[in-house]
Symmetry: C2
Subunit: 340 residues, 2 copies
Amino acid sequence: MRGVVMYAPGDVRVEEREDPRILAPTDAILRLSATCVCGSDLWPWRGIDRVTRPTPMGHEYVGVVEQVGADVRNVKVGDFVVGSFFASDNTCEICLAGYQSRCIHAYPMGREGTQAELLRVPLADGTLVATPGMPDADLIPSFLAASDVLGTGWFAAVAAEVGPGKTVAVVGDGAVGLLGVLAAKQLGAERIIAMSRHADRQALAVEFGATDIVTERGDDGVAKVKELTGGLGAHSVIEAVGTQESIMQAIRATRPGGHVGYVGVLHDVQLPGEELFFSGVHLHGGPAPVRQYLPELIDLIWNRTIDPGKVFDLTLPLDQAAEGYRAMDERRAIKVLLQP
Amino acid sequence: MRGVVMYAPGDVRVEEREDPRILAPTDAILRLSATCVCGSDLWPWRGIDRVTRPTPMGHEYVGVVEQVGADVRNVKVGDFVVGSFFASDNTCEICLAGYQSRCIHAYPMGREGTQAELLRVPLADGTLVATPGMPDADLIPSFLAASDVLGTGWFAAVAAEVGPGKTVAVVGDGAVGLLGVLAAKQLGAERIIAMSRHADRQALAVEFGATDIVTERGDDGVAKVKELTGGLGAHSVIEAVGTQESIMQAIRATRPGGHVGYVGVLHDVQLPGEELFFSGVHLHGGPAPVRQYLPELIDLIWNRTIDPGKVFDLTLPLDQAAEGYRAMDERRAIKVLLQP
């Protein structure tokens, strides 16, 4: 099969990889309908995360079940399925508490590399959720979004305890931040402040439910959020970047007793203890347990209540993956869908 | 009046201070029945927090109302009252959300110095809660504990989402940690692991409801907690110390999706972002909004359901305050009550 492999920063190639096969009776093999490039794929592309050897890329996926292991019960050949970027058994104590991304048997799908034609999914029963039927083609980008960025934005909103009557601020205008806006709207937030300085992303944020746009960053951005919230700060803040500046901006924009939901993988970040202590905020985040939300998200997409697929503003054939990485790196695209 | 003043690390003196008087119509003046030395008073005593000028000391107090300003309605002359270590209006949006220690008009009682005979309490209506009547003498230490260490341990347990069926670990065996054990018991925890290497404190922890004692610290302590919890870590961890080692011990002893409630003032602490991210825990803490819990705690003490006053294992006249500081610094006493 064809698949994307990163050789070094700035060097991804689409080449022939060995077809995946069933290794355990709980595995399934999918023929992928769509895959995509994630903001986190840009860390090694930019040389911030090291690339020590040729590495299959990608962890987001939707597709049709082509083969199942002997023990697979919940999905069958021919099903259209969505899965999280972490495989999970969905039966252990951690999964049952809703933290499937930290399942005691968690397996990162990035290790398989989903930017490819075929994909082995371990723990298929716990990981994959079938849609009610074969989706129309225009729904596929939205189901693909559910595999990571929508589920991650949704978790960030839940972690930030978004709810009716609350004011939410969103730090980060990438796909996750924008879908955090969408999640906040669905979860009933009264006011949603999107922090963005890019006109195209601001427009999508407003379409997804943002009521206010703040273009300032850092301390100026914090001051602006406080100005919009009677000097107190937002009840809930979604952090979807992962830098020192962005997480501090999120903490400082939150009122005492408020909640920060952070999903940007923290890189070279040290949180100052004393400031955090006196901030009085709640902090929660980490790798999103997307599996928890899949049934609900699939339902919202199938019924066309939400259209998260709009974050894909560039679609390319898999063979042009390198151009997809470049377009996202240069911010010419919010998120790039790849067609195997 | 007589009051405690710190001149330098290791140098506290009891000397004549000016009697407090009503400065605002919302003030009350108390004649203190008891006050005490806090673990946080040891930071400047040990030279870790700087002492730049003679500083009145203390922020914990119970006493009898001696005088009220013209606007005070909720307490009257002759009432026995308990107040938090932060004065608060108890009417602003932050107070109504339960974060009185971060009230928009919050006033730290340490600025008045409660290790004294008399005390001015600003925002008396929002800050003070009267007991149902004049308490028996043996209840006074427990009411005094409610003013800070009990309320703080209680908040830590609430912040750690302690509840029925849960396993709780408590890092720190000072008064706050021990009362965190008591709070966890009252809040219905199934199993309470106290982390302590001092026999007297272990005994009190067990009396307050601890089911297990772990004497190991740091990574060894974490390994022991994991061993006791099927390899997963505790559901809830109370952090009542405030050092880099203790907060990391707390985070690492918590299972993914679990909750850390931290109330030890973080000193020289930097939380590593990437480890925190992948831990998947909830973090919440800060200066405890003790005022929120006072009605409930007063009730539990008045009805003799709980006996938090047991943390006071040394009682001294106010004039011997210096000996009280020394006894706590040298760990000869858990907590020292001072009688004005």
